[in-house]
């Protein structure tokens, strides 16, 4: 495995994204990380996969889940179970149901883009922060990614970055290492603006 090579491929990815998403550097990490996830799995219908998170925002999909399923979701996840222990003990389904549409796509469906978009909150175990931020941040991401998503070259470029990184042994790196590598690269260039969403 060529770690330097992978890093080089991802650095080129950051440069390319700078061209497609000017002044939207907070999107580089989620876009590049989700491209890496699919590259490792050798799935290259990037456009559908990376934009799948937008479909997962569909409220119809989550609003009908039974109470038991929601309780199982919260109590089945160690970290969420700890955070929402009081609500679980009290059987406060109102709060759990309100948090479910934000947390289920990230922790239940494990969407790579959303996981990266809320990495800071996930790392600091600020799950309630995700619930508060979810609607505004995903809506901002949807607006900001739209112009690039309409350009077929954007997807072609992402595919090439993913394929190059995969051919150099991306799959041998730990998920955490890949995330840190991309974050370090995104932070590197002086010209790049903050890596957190403007409204966050």
């Amino acid at each position: 495995m060529n770690k330097k090579g992978v890093e080089g491929a991802l650095a080129r990815g950051v440069e390319i994204l700078d061209g497609f998403l000017p002044l939207k550097s907070w999107l580089y990490f989620p876009v590049l990380y989700s491209a890496c996830v699919w590259a490792v799995r050798r799935v290259f219908d990037y456009r559908d996969r990376i934009l799948a998170w937008q479909v997962w925002l569909d409220p119809e999909f989550v609003r009908t889940k039974p109470d038991e399923f929601i309780l199982h979701f919260f109590s089945g996840d160690e970290a969420l179970g700890r955070e929402y222990a009081d609500e679980l003990t009290r059987g406060d389904l109102r709060t759990l149901r309100a948090a479910f549409p934000a947390l289920y796509p990230i922790f239940g469906l494990e969407d790579a883009f959303l996981t990266a978009l809320f990495k800071a909150e996930i790392e600091s175990a600020d799950y309630r922060g995700i619930v508060v931020e979810f609607a505004s941040r995903t809506s901002k991401a949807r607006d900001d990614i739209q112009p690039a998503a309409a350009n077929p070259d954007f997807w072609k470029a992402l595919e090439l970055i993913g394929m190059e990184a995969a051919s150099l042994g991306l799959h041998l790196l730990k998920d955490e290492d890949v995330q840190n590598m991309i974050i370090a690269l995104v932070k590197k260039p002086a010209s790049i603006s903050p890596t957190i969403p403007p409204d966050a």
Binding site: G108, L109, D175
Partner: protein, 276 residues
């Protein structure tokens, strides 16, 4: 000479006019389809522009040669542009004109569009009736799948606010409707997925598990539904293991292990797409 020329000119005029009429409907369909393609890849502005052009062409066709198909396309374009009231009127006009033999698919599409308009306008009861009608009668699979998903979601959302007895009756009715769909098309993974969801609400976790297994085997239309189906399997597995008698629980765990091995899961509760 003039007399001789008149029929030829008239014929040419009829030909030109019919030629001019025909492209409006064809163009409307073409622009509408383009809009759908653009919307699928989130090119919203381009999609809206295409639907507006489809609407212009459909309106031309409706003025020149009103037909059920022309009003259906007009209604579909209006639906996508969020003009629900106009869409409702267009679909109703389409039905008043009547469809030609062989246009049953267009009639079903118009009905599904009408139901979506009703739903958006907050008229859930008539929307539900239309979806139920489509589920009984339509032979057009895309419409059938949309109607099944929409109706199931609407009924489940409504059932949440009902008292237990009423809820149980409502869910039983929904199960019967899904059973009928499966009788007609057992190979549709989406119908099994919806059945598994409803069984989960009823508390029949054994049936829910079985339906989710069949859905997994037959394939599902999207990653979203596929992952949610896997989560339903895990939920049922956990609950059944807790509640089944010891011997039965062991046999169940062994059968589950067989399926998950076949699907490449890392263990009984970890599908391949889940992180360790």
């Amino acid at each position: 000479m003039k007399r001789k020329l008149f029929p030829v000119a008239a014929l040419a005029l009829v030909f030109i006019l019919s030629g001019a009429c025909l492209p409006h409907l064809r163009k409307a369909k073409q622009f509408y389809a383009e809009g759908q393609d653009q919307a699928r890849v989130f090119r919203t502005a381009a999609a809206v522009a295409s639907w507006k052009r489809a609407l212009d062409e459909a309106e031309c066709e409706c003025r020149r040669k009103p037909s059920a198909q022309a009003f259906t396309i007009k209604g579909l374009a209006e639906t996508n542009l969020g003009r629900w009231r106009e869409a409702e009127a267009s679909f109703l006009k389409a039905f008043s004109l009547g469809y030609e033999p062989g246009e049953a698919w267009a009639s079903d599409v118009a009905l599904a569009g009408l139901a979506a308009s009703f739903e958006e306008l907050g008229l859930e009861a008539p929307a539900l009736r239309i979806y139920a009608q489509l589920l009984d009668k339509s032979a057009f699979k895309p419409v059938l799948m949309t109607a099944a998903e929409k109706r199931t979601n609407l009924v489940l959302a409504r059932a949440a606010g009902l008292d237990p007895e009423e809820k149980s009756r409502t869910l039983a009715g929904l199960t019967k409707a899904l059973d009928r769909l499966l009788d007609r098309d057992f190979a549709c993974g989406l119908f099994h997925y919806l059945h598994a969801q409803v069984d989960g609400h009823i508390g029949d976790l054994r049936r829910s598990y079985e339906e989710a297994v069949i859905a997994h085997e037959l394939g599902l239309p999207s990653e979203k539904i596929s992952r949610d189906n896997d989560n339903q399997l895990i939920y049922c597995y956990d609950k059944l293991k807790e509640t089944l008698p010891a011997a039965e629980s062991k046999a169940f765990a062994s059968a589950h292990s067989g399926w998950t091995k076949k699907w490449g899961w890392r263990d009984a509760r970890t599908p391949a797409w889940k992180k360790d």
